[in-house]
């Protein structure tokens, strides 16, 4: 599994407009809906599913990164979106720090193993040298896609 298989260029939002947690999730789900026309979920349904899970515990992790996600019965495959926010978003993170980088994942109920693998790929990338710095510095969706792809190449060496 590769990061750019899960997060395609159309699902990259370089400058999120939303200012709050639910707005960011909805904006990324909408991007995901456009990027994967095969998937039949509704934006409201997936947004609600993710927000329900956020109540159980926030997916805002250390270092200004969040990985909101949900399993949805109707999904055909594991799908992702990436969003970047120039302004800090209060995601109720583990370390209490504001969040700027968002990796949103949606997976079918049947793909629990694939989901852990996707999390491993994302977390390994985040821990990689300069990955988050490059993500913050990238200008366009294409530049961000390049950063995601370069990480894959480093991981394979």
């Amino acid at each position: 599994m590769k990061l750019t298989d899960v997060i395609v260029k159309k699902a990259i939002v370089p400058a999120l407009k939303a200012k709050d947690k639910k707005g960011v999730v909805a904006e990324l789900v909408a991007a995901m809906k456009k990027a994967y026309p095969d998937e039949r979920f509704s934006v409201g349904e997936l947004t609600d599913a993710i927000m329900e899970r956020e109540v159980v515990g926030s997916t805002g992790l250390h270092g200004g990164v969040a990985i909101p996600h949900a399993h949805l019965a109707g999904m055909k495959d594991l799908r992702g979106a990436f969003g970047r926010s120039a302004h800090p978003v209060d995601f109720k993170s583990v370390d209490g720090e504001p969040t700027h980088l968002f990796f949103l994942l949606a997976a079918p109920e049947s793909k629990k193993q694939g989901y852990l693998e996707a999390l491993k790929i994302v977390s390994t990338a985040i821990k990689g040298t300069h990955f988050c710095k490059f993500l913050r510095a990238a200008k366009t969706a294409k530049d961000i896609e390049d950063v995601l792809r370069e990480t894959e190449e480093i991981a394979r060496v």
Partner: protein, 93 residues
């Protein structure tokens, strides 16, 4: 002072985002250095980093060793092992 204990992941979805965040928060309450090691491969990560815990991709049934090094090592390992055994306090999530 060092202490360690072997635990098994019981959650249906494995050590995913929320359990990782909860574990890192629980580990941060102790002064000791906390390390989680995947028993089969020896892969070791910082138990206080939610991101590093996700790098383990620990599915249900995975055996992990919790290690602590510091003046509260014993209390840390005991409390964190119970936490894992208790499915990170989140039922089947």
């Amino acid at each position: 002072m060092t202490s360690e204990r072997r635990v098994t992941i019981l959650n249906e979805k494995g050590l995913h985002v929320r359990p990782a965040a909860a574990f890192a928060q629980a580990a941060a309450r102790f002064r000791s250095r906390i390390t989680l090691v995947r028993e089969s491969s020896g892969q070791a990560v910082n138990g206080k980093s939610s991101i590093e815990l996700l790098m383990l991709a620990a599915e249900p049934g995975t055996a992990l060793v919790i290690k602590a090094d510091g003046d509260d090592a014993e209390a840390a390992v005991s409390s964190l092992a119970d936490f894992v055994g208790n499915r990170f306090g989140m039922g089947d999530d």
